[in-house]
């Protein structure tokens, strides 16, 4: 009996010690060599696997590119270089919370990139509020809820907000697109039933009604990451709308486009595909399936804008990652340069200095002016809106340069007063 008891004891304590040692060794931040300048620590918590991966990966790669370029040019603040740590929360809010805590509290990163999608964004935002240090850039949560209700000084938003996207959609459809000359149009809104879809609809419907008061707006909500749209397609076909507006992305796009084509949906109606699904990451696979004339919003495409800065970005991205940059990448590339300028302006990484610097910095990029809106910490840029036309392989589609236009987000966003009113009404 004694032997068993001590064996039991030994085994357990050995296991526990083994884990603790390996663990602590792994967790303790590596001490920096004395002669190096302290790095600018960046924590990246991106859902590289799972549903969000399609969006997270190009963003992540673009960040890496920008940071490497800045490091190669000598870094910031007199030679300090970016150093980054990456974690993949696999789409789970528990892991998002854990890794954000790890980044902010254990690794003590100066900048945290996190929050892909509204649930992860909420989780990340909560951790920032809790930790009271560091700055966070939330990437993928488009919902205005995060910016209005859950606003926090240390949190900034890079992704295009739902308000300008939704209003931009209404403007594009009614002023330039398929609904331009129709007095009483019929519009079908097809979306996954989740925060982004709902919030987009929330802002789209009134904007659309302003343009076309007699519009008949119908809705169909599918489950998230739905792969079978056939029942919805027959519903939509039966209603014969003038345009179908979708917020589908990721794996839903190949499925939806294939099924829509099989059902001949595009003989009956037109398509508006939102959320930048006309990026090369999609066109590569399903470019030919987008009906010609599909209206989309994107920040860039091969050759669009096509100026020197844009070409350099493409070359550099191709060189570093061996693939063409996905549409979601450029925003984060620009954001890192924006951050770099703000850091130089602030001459420090201390949030107390960096926050006002971010709020007051602007840069000129190959996509125009980029600045930070003080009221809701939303990074402001713009987007191209236009119909797709045929182009050469491998992408098969591109924007019609004759009909596309650039819209600055600020022109279709909420005003400062509106934002403050929303916040007041929540209390």
């Amino acid at each position: 009996m004694e032997k068993i008891k001590s064996l039991n004891f030994i085994i357990l304590s050995t296991l526990m010690l083994f884990f603790l040692i390996t663990f602590v060794w792994g967790i303790y931040p590596v001490p920096i060599k004395a002669e190096d300048k302290p790095p600018i620590k960046v924590g990246i918590v991106y859902p590289i696997s799972g549903v969000m991966g399609t969006i997270a990966i190009p963003s992540y790669k673009a960040h890496l590119l920008a940071m490497s370029e800045i490091n190669a040019k000598g870094g910031l603040l007199g030679g300090r270089k970016f150093e980054w740590i990456v974690r993949d929360p696999m789409g789970k809010p528990e892991l998002e919370t854990r890794y954000c805590r790890e980044m902010l509290i254990s690794e003590k990163v100066d900048i945290l990139h996190a929050g892909y999608g509204s649930a992860l964004g909420m989780a990340a935002s909560a951790v920032v509020a809790e930790s009271g240090r560091g700055l966070a850039f939330l990437e993928g949560g488009k919902t205005s809820k995060l910016r209005n209700e859950k606003f926090h000084r240390n949190v900034f938003f890079l992704e295009q907000e739902d308000v300008p996207e939704a209003r931009g959609m209404a403007k594009a459809l009614c002023e330039y697109g398929p609904l331009k000359d129709i007095k009483e149009p019929k519009v079908y809104f097809l979306s996954w039933d989740y925060e982004y879809g709902r919030s987009l609809y929330h802002w789209f419907a009134p904007a659309l009604k302003k343009y076309k008061p007699n519009v008949k707006l119908m809705e169909a909500w599918t489950k998230v990451a739905e792969t079978d749209y056939t029942p919805y397609i027959s519903l939509i076909a039966g209603a014969k709308p003038d345009v179908v507006v979708t917020t589908i992305w990721g794996g839903g796009i190949p499925s939806f486009l294939k099924q829509a084509k099989a059902y001949g949906l595009w003989d009956i109606t037109n398509l508006f595909a939102s959320t930048e699904v006309a990026g090369v990451e999609y066109l590569r696979e399903v470019g030919e399936l987008f009906p010609v004339g599909t209206w989309v919003n994107v920040m860039e495409l091969p050759g669009i804008p096509g100026n020197e800065g844009h070409r350099k970005y493409w070359e550099a991205f191709r060189k570093m990652h061996g693939e063409d940059p996905g549409a979601f990448g450029v925003r984060n590339y620009i954001a890192t340069y924006f951050l770099a300028k703000a850091i130089e302006n602030a001459k420090s990484l201390d949030p107390e200095k960096l926050i006002p610097a971010l709020e007051n910095t602007s840069i000129d990029t190959f996509l125009g002016k980029v600045w930070m809106r003080k009221t809701n910490h939303q990074m402001m840029t713009g987007m191209y809106w236009g119909p797709l036309i045929k182009s050469d392989p491998p992408y098969h589609r591109t924007l019609d340069k004759a009909k596309m236009y650039w819209l600055n987000d600020i022109d279709v966003s909420l005003t400062d007063d509106e934002i403050l009113n929303i916040r007041k009404s929540i209390k």
Binding site: K5, F19, I27, P93, T97, S106, A119, A126, A129, T143
Partner: protein
Amino acid sequence: MFFGKKRRSIIGLSLFILLLALFLPVVLPKFLTFLLTEIIIFGLFGIAVNLLVGYSGMVTFGHGAFYGLGAYTVGLFLTKTGVPFIVAFLLAPIIASFFGLIIGFFCVRLTQFYFAMLTLAFGMLIWAIIYKWEKFTGGDNGLVGVPLPSILSSTQAFYYFTVCVVIICLIVLWRIVNSPFGYTMRAIRENPERVRFLGINLTRYKLAIFVISSGFAGISGGLYTAFTKGAFPDYASWAKSGEGLIIVLIGGMSSFIGPLIGAAVLVFLQQIVTMIFQYWSIVLGILLLLVVLFLPEGVMGIKEKVRFQR
């Protein structure tokens, strides 16, 4: 014979671990304290699941639902009403076991495969309701900003709170599994026919253990919400139920404390692996395969292997 040899070794071991648990946050960095808290909460969940799996032979695939119910009880009461924290926290096991009563009522009549399927179905139903009832639960956004009382706001304070709660739960659970009731459940696991022959109403006993198990799962869910100050539909998913089963397996289903060890292994391993390697899922899958094939009794079963390897 109260302090017989076996009792002494258990008490000795428990004291050692307790002291370690209380001492650790003082020396360890904050993040590790976070991880330990997570492990302890997760371990409680696993032990609750093991009441059914290990002690009663009822493999349940829906316990994530009770974890989620406990989590959302705490979350909803604290964000939508003004009740004090302790009230919301105590409501978690109450609500979870209430649902456990309803769900268990239907499930315990069935055996093995059908029991697992029905617990899965109920689990998914609850998940779907939490996910879809956006107006009430926040839907896919989850609930955030759950306020905690200020005494619990520091990492260490919360850790001690968790340790206290879990120790109380463990004492209660230990008494339960080592009571006549607990032994009856073991007998039911081994030979239900014989137990029925003794005049015992199997269904009632099974229902009782199901309710108890769901209550403790609810406590762990409530703890987790307080820990992350948020609740998400993910907490009630079948993936969570699966994780509960995994830590039971890895730790050892024939051991009381096994699932807690399993939780430690899983959390530590995941943290270490994700720090160096981007493919965690395959590592977990291979680990599971190895445990199922070569160490089915789990970590706590190692001592058995050693014992019999004379």
